[in-house]
């Protein structure tokens, strides 16, 4: 998900993934010292709120776009079958109850009968079928939602309020997928009339959510308006009935300093993607609250191509893993706001293996010994190691157009640290097209990416040999390990939480021990809100929910 542009194959999605700080994050909604929810009296109805965000969606169609920002905005326009809470449990939403067949190939949902789209069409079993069939259809060219449907076989309308979704293989991650905005529901009427005009955004995007899509001015802003009929908020919501706000405006302010400045100057009520460097000064103000959300999904990591020299030698991979001084660099570049990562999953992801923490600290001396063992004992004029007269040099392609979160700066730190143990890191700068081609063809030694999702199944996406880049997958380390395949497949085929945790812990341990991956940091979603804003929450994907928000500024 979270590609910068539509139409990029998925590995770029991954590479550029977890877009913006806005990415899916989760669980512990840690708040700053002055970020506690104040008792601001009873909620007030009416008024409008303006939110500054750092990215303008390139496509507004939730079934097509893989962008995090699209889902983040549209979460307020579209509802899902189920809702997921911060602990990873599922709660009723548009579905009141559900049953799963023992082999995990069939999910039967009982639907609410009182739900209406904003164009008056009732929400029913047929609407579910029409939407899911549309996502799965090749002609939709879904870049993300279709993959969330996994081995989708079809949807059966049992009666107007009962629907069964079938899969060709056991598919445990479905409930989580169904809880995201990507699997939200359009009015069947608008799909029939405007199916091809949804990417552009506008009032034709008809959903059942607390807000409806009113207008979009390209390059500037989009406006959502209250849906007065809304009365089907999920169990986690703080109130039932229509949202408090009359109007919600998102302004696209891509330049960090402009966005932060607009917020600090009071031109917007809420700003997303606050750069870590600005957090402290904003937090020091009494009229500002910082809303934080830990990262869930696959953290920003370096994937070492295990099929190409020199990283086909595990000793060289481990040397690189131990020679990067990750902790202090992450701390200083991200001003203590992002966390140093110890495993491929973010700490808020269900199944995160805490046991990995502090197990592979910075140890350049060990790294040096490993390289000696691997035969890289010579030194050339520039101080780089050599073996048989060949320099120890690795290729780490970059796509400058897609850089965010100061990753280019962090890369310079990595380059510098690895130079200290005699490893040369070359960073050819490529445009997105060439970058993608290279990535799929495996023409790299190092590839960096993150993938935001509140679900440990990303490990299958990342390390299962069925997902090699040559097959269009995201297994950027090019691992083909039967053990890993078995663990990740088995975990995707069971709903037993303990069994899944164990299998995922084994996978996380293996990829760290064998240095297929060097996790760097887990981003923190950072929103700044003015004191006048109450009730803003982030869901497990770190998408802001505006249904409960009210403003005390008249």
């Amino acid at each position: 998900m979270r590609v910068i542009r539509p139409r990029l194959p998925r590995i770029v999605g991954a590479a550029l993934a977890a877009a913006f700080v806005l990415s899916a994050c989760s669980s512990t909604t840690k708040t700053g010292p002055n970020a506690a929810e104040p008792a601001a009296g009873p909620p007030v109805k009416g008024g409008s709120v303006t939110v500054a965000i750092n990215t303008e969606p390139t496509c507004f169609d939730i079934h097509v776009s893989p962008q995090d920002i699209t889902a983040s905005i549209q979460r307020n326009v579209f509802d899902s079958l189920v809702a997921q809470d911060d602990q990873g449990n599922f709660q009723p939403w548009l579905a009141t109850s559900w049953e799963v067949t023992p082999d995990l190939t069939g999910y039967t949902f009982k639907l609410r009968t009182d739900v209406k789209f904003t164009d008056g069409t009732p929400f029913d079993a047929n609407a579910v079928k029409v939407n899911f069939d549309r996502i799965a259809a090749k002609t939709t060219k879904s870049q993300y939602a279709a993959s969330l449907l996994g081995p989708y076989a079809g949807t059966e309308v049992l009666d107007p309020a009962t629907v069964r979704i079938s899969f060709t293989k056991p598919f445990a991650p479905f409930l989580q997928a169904a809880s995201t905005a990507y699997l939200g529901f359009y009015s069947p009427q608008t799909l029939a009339a405007n199916g091809d005009k949804l990417c552009a955004g506008g009032p034709q995007l008809v959903g059942t959510g607390p807000f409806r899509f009113a207008a979009h001015t390209k390059g500037q802003s989009l406006t959502l308006e209250n849906n007065p009929a809304y009365n089907w908020a999920p169990a986690g919501a703080k109130h039932q009935g229509a949202a408090y706000l009359d109007k919600l405006t998102f302004r696209f302010l891509t330049e960090d300093s402009v966005r932060v400045g607009a917020f600090a100057g009071g031109q917007v009520d809420i700003a997303g993607s606050i750069p870590p460097v600005n957090v402290k000064s904003l937090e020091g103000r009494s009229d500002v609250r910082i809303l934080r959300h830990d990262f869930a999904g696959a953290v920003y990591s370096l994937f070492l191509n295990t099929t190409r020299a020199p990283f086909d030698d595990e000793r060289v991979r481990r040397a690189v893993q131990r020679a990067i001084n990750i902790g202090p660099n992450v701390q200083s570049i991200y001003f203590d706001q992002y966390r140093r990562a110890w495993g491929p999953l973010g700490p808020a992801t269900p199944g995160y293996d805490k046991a990995l923490e502090n197990t592979w600290p910075y140890d350049p001396a060990l790294a040096g010994r490993l390289l000696d063992e691997a035969g890289w004992t010579g030194r050339d004029g520039d101080g780089y190691r050599t073996r048989d007269g060949k320099r120890l040099s690795v290729q780490w392609p970059s796509a400058p157009a897609a850089v965010r979160e100061q990753r280019d700066i962090l890369a310079q730190a990595v380059q510098s640290d690895l130079k200290k143990i005699g490893v040369e890191v070359q960073r050819p700068a490529l445009d997105l097209g060439a970058f993608t081609t290279n990535a799929y063809a495996g023409r790299y030694d190092v590839l960096d990416m993150s993938w935001a999702r509140f679900e440990p199944d990303v490990l299958r996406l990342y390390f299962n040999s069925a997902n090699l880049p040559s097959a269009g997958g995201q297994n950027a380390a090019w691992l083909s390990n039967p053990q890993i395949d078995q663990w990740t497949d088995a975990a995707a085929a069971t709903l037993d939480r303990a069994a899944r945790d164990r299998l995922y812990a084994q996978t996380q341990g293996w990829v760290i021990e064998h240095a297929a991956v060097v996790p760097l940091y887990a981003a923190t979603t950072l929103f700044a809100t003015g004191r006048q804003i109450n009730g803003l929450r982030l869901d497990p994907n770190a998408w802001p929910l505006f249904h409960d928000v009210w403003s005390t500024r008249r």
């Binding site: 300093s257 460097v277 001084n325 310079q412 640290d417 700068a429």
Partner: protein, 286 residues
């Protein structure tokens, strides 16, 4: 001896021209200093411009680090000094490319016949109708990113201006008595151009080039600021500015010092360039 003769002939003007004000003097001093830094940054600092030290990150300017350190703990002073060569070379290289290209273009237009003149000058018109920076951006998009590519891009953008000037000068010189005399003596066309037309047409060009050097510096830094020029981790002023722009509130020194370096260099070049123009143009009012 010759000097003395001229002095006698036009004493007042020469004395005035020979006097160099403090502004011009300091401009030349700054340029000399920058040139020295560019040639041998090691004379001024032995700190590595690319070695990181996260524990010393974001220190303010002080005794240990004169210009402070950046977010990776690199010494900003060392980076500014080591950034001089790539930054100045970018501007200088672009100007030299532009001068050579512009001269050939202008001569071809002036001496190549009516068709060549029409094609050359209309092309120049088209290119001049576009903002220089936009043109450079376009070229760099075609070429790809990198130091040499940015150099060429800035040069191409500056070329039509020089071409026009060279053409105008060449047209004047071509009709001058001594060239017509030389042609009448049966001198070969190529020899005529190299020996008579070029040397006499090139003076104003060199002056324009000096001023153009300042502009090229700014454009080259601008493109590097956009990440199209020098690639990290090698220090370059424009790229450093870009890295520092998010820190103006918290760590101003990361962006301010490389910015000041570009500013000083450009002002010095411009002052020196104007001085050269005044000297060269002499009484010609411009």
């Amino acid at each position: 001896m010759a000097q003395a003769t001229i002095d006698k002939a036009r004493p007042v003007r020469i004395r005035r021209r020979g006097r160099v004000g403090p502004g011009v003097a300091s401009a030349f001093a700054v340029l000399a200093l920058f040139a020295l830094i560019g040639l041998a940054p090691g004379l001024f600092t032995d700190t590595s411009p690319i070695e990181t030290d996260p524990l010393a990150a974001l220190r303010g300017p002080g005794a240990g680090h004169w210009f402070g350190t950046d977010q990776l703990g690199r010494d900003v002073f060392a980076r500014v000094l080591h950034g001089a060569r790539p930054s100045l070379l970018l501007g200088l290289g672009a100007t030299v490319f532009a001068l050579i290209g512009g001269t050939l273009w202008g001569l071809a237009s002036a001496l190549g016949g009516r068709v060549a003149d029409q094609v050359g000058m209309r092309l120049a018109d088209i290119m001049l109708s576009l903002p220089e920076l936009l043109l450079a951006l376009f070229v760099v998009t075609l070429l790809g990113r990198g130091t040499v590519d940015v150099m060429i891009a800035v040069a191409v953008a500056a070329m039509p201006g020089y071409a026009r000037l060279v053409r105008a000068e060449a047209l004047v010189v071509r009709r001058s008595g001594y060239v017509e005399a030389a042609a009448g003596l049966g001198l070969l066309r190529g020899v005529l151009i190299v020996r008579h037309v070029l040397p006499n047409a090139i003076g104003p060009l060199l002056v324009l080039g000096t001023v153009g050097f300042g502009t090229s510096l700014i454009y080259a830094s601008g493109l590097s600021f956009l990440g199209l020029g020098a690639q990290p981790p090698s220090p370059e002023w424009g790229a450093m500015l870009s890295e520092g722009r998010g820190f103006l509130e918290t760590a101003w020194w990361i962006g301010v010092f490389p910015g000041a370096a570009v500013t000083c260099a450009v002002i010095a070049v411009n002052v020196a360039g104007r001085h050269a123009r005044a000297r060269f143009a002499g009484g010609i009012a411009r």
